[in-house]
């Protein structure tokens, strides 16, 4: 057992070194803006940049809208397929996994050609239309994660019984969805939502090619033109991702506690 444990520590050590060096490097670099001493100047410059505030706000709004649309599409579908159309499950699952197979750049290329100004649905003709298109693109990107999270959440509850019970009490479909199913899969939905947020906030390709003023293209622009600010932005982006993942852990753990308390 002894030699195995040495190998284990070695593997972990290499992993930790590989993952922490870039983080430390970035942090150190972001503090080097003022010559000869460490300072938070790079962060100050970045946070005071009006384009940072605009693009960041834009991406936050986009992420929230994506989450709402994603939940509205995914939760009823996953529920309905489990309840009424189990035969369709492999098909739906296959479709939800397609965004992992088709690169996002290909999907957005299709959008640009399919919804251009001379098409039947000229979404790219107006700023609002392009925003909607971008949001749908983000919803597509998050589909695999959202669907899997919600579907796993539904597996743990007996939806057939819950539905029948609700129906016999006179509930309609909207009531069943919002007051019976959604609260039961809330943790799964929140996990999917935070993951979606982490994906959307820094997304580059779709926003750049659809020419929207999102955070990802702003990052790229700063990276091409500045020295220390990109490192500060990378630290901020890493912190956002970290917060999103932390929140997922938090809601999962919280739900485990409440479930345990109920039993």
């Amino acid at each position: 057992m002894k030699p195995a444990r040495i190998w284990s520590w070695l593997a972990l050590g290499i992993g930790v070194t590989y993952f922490f060096l870039p983080l430390i490097g970035t942090l150190e670099f972001s503090l080097r803006m003022r010559r000869g001493e460490y300072s938070l100047d790079a962060y100050r410059v970045v946070l005071a940049d009006p384009r940072f505030q605009e693009t960041f706000a834009y991406s936050v709004v986009m992420a929230l809208a994506t989450i709402v649309v994603g939940v509205l599409i995914v939760v009823p579908t996953a529920y309905w397929v489990r309840l009424k159309l189990p035969r369709l499950r492999p098909v739906v699952e296959f479709i939800t996994l397609l965004p992992l197979v088709i690169p996002p750049i290909v999907i957005v290329f299709g959008y640009i050609r399919l919804y251009n100004t001379s098409s039947i649905l000229p979404l790219t003709g107006t700023a609002m239309g392009t925003n909607v298109l971008l949001m749908m693109g983000y919803a597509t990107l998050s589909l695999p994660y959202m669907y899997r999270a919600v579907d796993t959440g539904l597996r743990t509850i007996d939806i057939a019984t819950l539905t029948e019970a609700a129906q016999s009490l006179g509930a309609g479909w909207v009531t069943i969805m919002t007051r019976v199913i959604l609260p039961n899969v809330l943790v799964a939905v929140l996990s999917g939502a935070f993951l979606t947020f982490a994906i959307v906030i820094g997304e580059f390709v779709m926003a750049a090619l659809l020419n929207r003023p999102a955070f990802g293209p702003y990052l790229q622009l700063i990276g091409a033109n500045r020295a220390y600010e990109p490192a500060a932005l990378a630290v901020i982006a890493f912190a956002i991702t970290w917060i999103c993942m932390g929140l997922i852990q938090l809601v999962t753990r919280f739900s485990k506690h409440t479930n345990a308390a109920k039993r």
Partner: protein, 297 residues
């Protein structure tokens, strides 16, 4: 709705009228997937087989076989394969170390959380992080020069290259592997190892004959997933190299932005080629998985 609820067995209601209603429930999803996933992709695929006049042709596909585009595909495939293989190997080693290697239990939680973060920390910020670390003025580059007198750039290292990009992609490939393979490693039952040991198997034999065949589908599946994951990645490479390193996604990106190939239909063919490559990777996964599952029975 009320009449059907008051009946004792609503299930036996005439299926002819029920069926279309049930299918209506997936209509929003079908509309969404059709409009924003399947139709755009079909449009690209069909465009790859049409010329500017709209006639069916194989010319666009044939045009892909020119040296510069083939070279772009080749380097893309090499980077994706290298980062997927190394990601699988290192991720597996770390996950095995934590689940089976006798490390203290408290390491596991933070490792999985960190993997969740790192696997999603891709795109432009990741490029910044590696520029700040291994760029010409990066922390590691400078420290190696100051402390050990090793100038990695004089030795031929370049972040904007095959090695550099592979090294960068590993930052999200390894954690993804850890996240997927850890539950699979947990699924290995203690009894199997004990049974193998009682029958006189060495540690190596246990892994080769018992554990690896069981894990095979997961490993192959993750390999295919990691491959597709890095093959389609644009943001990191673009932020890292601009358009100096000509990999397929960057070529396509430049084509969409400014029609650098002077032929929009060649762009469709380029995109179609990307779908074919990631499609083959996923097909191989499904095929090998059914094979290994049949063999396992």
């Amino acid at each position: 709705m009320q009449t059907s609820a008051s009946r004792p067995h609503p299930v036996v209601a005439p299926t002819r009228r029920r069926l279309p209603l049930a299918w209506l429930g997936v209509a929003p999803f079908a509309a969404f997937a059709g409009l924003f996933l399947i139709l755009p992709t079909m449009f690209i695929v069909l465009g790859a087989f049409r010329n500017a006049a709209g006639e069916a042709t194989l010319e666009n596909i044939a045009n892909l076989f020119q040296p510069s585009i083939l070279a772009a595909y080749w380097i893309s495939i090499r980077i994706s394969l290298a980062s997927a293989l190394l990601g699988c190997l290192i991720g597996f080693a770390v996950a095995a170390a934590v689940t089976l290697g006798g490390l203290p239990g408290w390491i596991r939680g933070p490792l999985l959380t960190f993997s969740g973060v790192a696997s999603n920390f891709a795109g432009v910020p990741l490029a910044f992080a590696f520029l700040a670390t291994l760029g010409r003025l990066g922390l590691v580059t400078v420290l190696l020069k100051d402390w050990f007198g090793i100038n990695i750039y004089a030795m031929g290292f370049n972040l904007l290259s095959f090695t550099g990009l592979t090294l960068t992609y590993l930052f999200f490939q390894i954690p993804l592997m850890i996240l997927i393979v850890t539950p699979a490693l947990d699924g290995l039952k203690r009894e199997w190892r004990e049974a193998a040991e009682i029958l006189g198997a060495s540690g190596f034999q246990y892994w080769r004959i018992v554990a690896l065949p069981i894990l095979w589908p997961t490993l192959l599946g993750t390999l295919a997933l990691l491959f597709a994951n890095s093959f389609g990645a644009v943001a990191t490479a673009y932020a890292l190299t601009g358009s100096s390193l000509s990999i397929v996604p960057i070529l396509l990106f430049a084509q969409i932005r400014g029609d650098v190939l002077q032929d929009p239909h060649l762009g469709y063919a380029l995109a179609f080629g990307m779908i074919v490559v990631t499609g083959i990777a996923n097909f191989l996964y499904v095929w090998l998985r059914t094979r290994s599952e049949r063999w396992m029975k």
